[in-house]
Symmetry: D2
Subunit: 345 residues, 4 copies
């Protein structure tokens, strides 16, 4: 079985494992207060051109989203999200478990617009009974989205301008940030995020690490006491240095970008192969997740050799599925898939 179902099927990139091995027997203090975490925080702040931002390391994405969102909202506030957003669909109600509604805005491709956010805000305050309704308290978007799509820089600028105008902190879920930044269609740089949102995270789990996410909190008003939040929500790793060491391995060279680019390129090859055969894509993705709509009998044949994620049936005979590449995807595995696409379709 060749796995294309997700971007977390392997362990970690060999350079990360190597650094973990090399430092394994060193003694450090716990809870991410060690020198590796210090270095990694400084490095990320430098690479993000964000000297005043706070960087914290957490273990997983659901945890990072929940911890930050719960830290920002007042009890009667909710977080605006695309209906397709990870927090709305795939976190078993983690946001709600901290007391907050996810205010879901309709989305076809995973994105929401600045206009949708403004309308949601205005609808709230224009309602006679606004105090009887959940107050919009912040905005959550994903970059890339759960559907592989990207906000352009101008879209993100417009979104953040609206957010600042309406006093709605903007938080970006960057579980796959590298795959977004390195997409051929992307015009947003890592150094742009410091000016384009209140906080974002640089995902590690899906980008070659064993686990780990680095949240960058730009807005100084949202920085206070965040370590208490991490501890309470179960994200403070005793051997915190594991997070610092992994982020160093990923960012002290250009490894993060290199492996993201690798994955994007392979994903676009797969997309091209399908499109050449007249297959349409459910979403217009230029990142590492691709969503071809395929006849069910074709899928059956592919499933003998390849794993992919089910997504949705589009009609009686066809279904959209997800093929996902990663830092670990082998060129020869993709080549074999391309060959089989040519044969089967």
């Amino acid at each position: 079985m060749i796995r294309f179902e997700c971007d977390y099927a392997e362990g970690a990139h060999p350079k990360i494992m190597e650094k973990l091995m090399r430092t394994n027997m060193e003694q450090t203090i716990g809870y991410s207060e060690d020198k590796y975490c210090d270095e990694a925080r400084e490095l990320l702040k430098k690479l993000c051109n964000a000297p005043s931002s706070d960087v914290h390391f957490l273990v997983g994405g659901t945890q990072t989203n929940t911890t930050f969102i719960a830290s920002v909202l007042r009890p009667y506030q909710g977080v605006i999200s695309a209906s397709t957003g990870h927090i709305n669909v795939h976190e078993t109600g983690a946001i709600e478990s901290t007391g907050h509604k996810v205010i879901a805005l309709e989305s076809k491709d995973g994105k929401i617009s600045a206009k949708q956010v403004r309308d949601c805000y205005l609808n709230h305050y224009n309602d006679e009974s606004y105090e009887h309704m959940v107050q919009p308290g912040m905005v959550y978007i994903s970059f890339p989205t759960e559907n592989g799509t990207l906000y352009s820089k101008s879209e993100l600028v417009e979104m953040y301008n609206v957010c600042k105008e309406l006093d709605l902190p903007l938080y970006i879920d960057g579980a796959r940030l590298g795959y977004g930044i390195n997409s051929p269609k992307n015009d947003i740089k890592l150094t742009d995020f410091v000016d384009l949102c209140d906080a974002f995270y640089i995902g590690g789990t899906k980008e070659g690490m064993l686990f780990g996410e680095a949240i960058v909190i730009n807005n100084p008003n949202l920085q206070k006491d965040f370590r208490y939040m991490i501890k309470q929500k179960g994200g403070m790793l005793a051997k915190g240095r594991l997070l610092g060491i992994q982020y160093l391995a990923l960012f002290e060279s250009d490894l993060y970008n290199k492996i993201s680019l690798h994955a994007d390129n392979l994903a676009l090859k797969i997309r091209a192969a399908f499109e050449e055969k007249g297959i349409s894509m459910l979403y217009d993705s230029y990142t590492n997740q691709q969503y071809p709509i395929l006849p069910n009998d074709v899928l059956k044949k592919l499933a003998k050799k390849y794993s992919y994620s089910s997504w949705c049936s589009t009609d009686k005979n066809n279904s959209a599925v997800r093929f996902c590449t990663s830092w670990a995807t082998k060129r020869e595995d993709v080549d074999e898939l391309l060959k089989d696409i040519n044969t089967i379709l």
Copy 2:
């Protein structure tokens, strides 16, 4: 100003006030353990033909909904509701504040179908990632709905059969139960509810009481320790006897039905007057809430003399509004409105 904007514009029905006055200086123990509450509980159980049910008194509707739903669900479960449901729209996220998602199903008229519930359940368990999603844990419906519409007995039977089959407790918000039961289009009796849901409440606030809701918990598995829940959620009134006394006043004669019928009749007169003038209704309501779609200039004229609730604009020149009657609505006020409808339209 003649008020038609809601069914809680006045104090309480005179018979209730009278009973409160008469008992005012008696000494009783607190927290609804007094003799009046005992009597009222027994009376309601008798009238509902529900000797094994538990009856509890709470102060308000949001509180009743939140307390019961929080009592039923496990932490990772959500409550299925129409998207228009009171708990989804007008309780400032009270359900979410107790940790639970409202799983909103699309609804045009305030109702959801047994099929929608079953599909929601199946979609959950058919999803590969079902453990990453909020598990449907119970069903919430309103009778009448927030739009004045009613479930027929056969619809409710079908709904409860599905709920029992899928092990989803069914809870009915009866804030306006009397207006539903006494509607000319209704075929469900008060004694039917014991067999048609796991719990429901008999609303008092909107049915002539100063305040108060009586929840009837039919399912013995959901009865345990409910008074702890009431206390924790702020619903345990120190002078609990006020609730028992009011319910006695409403139910020891046929007052509850009488005043509900009064309100329904007047509401249907208003509906008929509008329809005679070719005005359509946003929802097909046969209860005390009516939703005419009126030209904005007509509304302007009516607003000089009558209050109503804004609902939504249906196009550039027309808006749906709500006219609401209650136990306290005066026939002469309705007559005056009818006259003005004839003049203005």
Copy 3:
């Protein structure tokens, strides 16, 4: 049975009932936005000499405490309270249900000292692992305490100075505020509270109203959006005018003070009668709650005619109990008790 077990055994003071009756059929808008609530809010602000404070009406004490405390604290913070505090003991974990620890400080008589608060704060920040511990976020005290005791003005000034220095909002539970203010040993006036805490509430339920508590939020930073909190926590009464009307009845004349003084005087008579017989008091209370320590056989005799609250056994043969007076306690009932004390002891 003559009831001395609590101060909420009757309905409401006749003047309150009268005003409720007189206004009963008037139509007003709901949710405490009516003219009676407006008037009552203005009146209370005037009487408190607190023109910049916000006044809100809620239904009960547990609800008021929970709603305000949940509104102030960040998720990782707890509320400092005497171990005997109502929020720590008698609210079925309502505070915890909103996510917050009650940080209980030892107390013999219901009071805590400014020094205890400072020590608690210093212990937290001096601990190496302070981020692993609940951060003290505010202070809760009761006036009078649950044991009938009172803070002196100088004690309260010292407490608030420490609170301001440490940035810990101070909140005062005034369920029985009037009984405190009118105690012969008290030196704090209603107009003092605006300068001595961030928020307090003027209890109604235990002071002659059917129900109702009026919170006065002095600190402008804690005022924002409080009505959303009230709605979410189930405290927003549909017929909100009932709260305004009752507060007007209590405060537009000097009724509140008059009935509080009445209760205090009768309670102190009871205390004197016991003390004359050599009975000691568990707490040194000069308010409407008295805690004699009595031989169990004496209690048995008293129990035939009088109800009181059990408190705790002090040794094998003796128990402390609570005798409580209120606005409604009749002089002749107290006289009879005094006579029986003389006979039995």
Copy 4:
């Protein structure tokens, strides 16, 4: 600096790292549904002699405690714990953040007795106002405790008998389980726990793993849907196999016991060295944590070369501190410490 401050100063045991390296490039499905997790679960069930128990892997201890406790309790229930319990002191209110009070029982050495649990239960139900108080819902103990002490088998049997009698599930925090099981004073075997509690966890983080805790749920009534809980509370690792692989490395040979014994032996050498010099211990620990009470000037001298944890000052001139050993503690480091103890004291 030689670190004795905790048992998580290094990475993982070399055998664990080796297995992680060896399997690193294999592709598996995520979220602990892979073959390594399957094997590890089966292995642990076999070693625990617990074929009907459920085993789940989580990332950290606070997370494991919070997830399980939140899964067991109803909203109005609290968890009984020693006042010194990790959940009461060092988890930043994680339990409270899920809505539940920690009912703290006094403890001098980290243990609580079956009698204390029974008294707590009886006090609750004997109180007139029990519905106004948090209901005891389960019992949490640690083995070994946070102070290094151990329950004897007969104590644990008695505790569990009381728990079963009172219908209070018993949960054991086994963050350092191996150090307990391998203590020379211990008489409880790994296979005993299946009969002595409803659930316990076999800690990995402090026992040689990079991270990871394995919860064993014995009581079938508490097993349902636990994976939803793990996901919601942020404990479901995408690359879940990392947990399975590490547990396999620890348990497929006798490594877990071997390294625990190693740590206990070294800790007891340190204890002996101190005691030989007349130093008393704050707690009577026979596990890997030792708590000597030392003159402050001695501590100053030791601090130049060794790290330890501050605990508490016992008088003006003396303080208790914690020396902690682990699987990774080197014999030569302990020997050096022993030498220095002899010199300095």
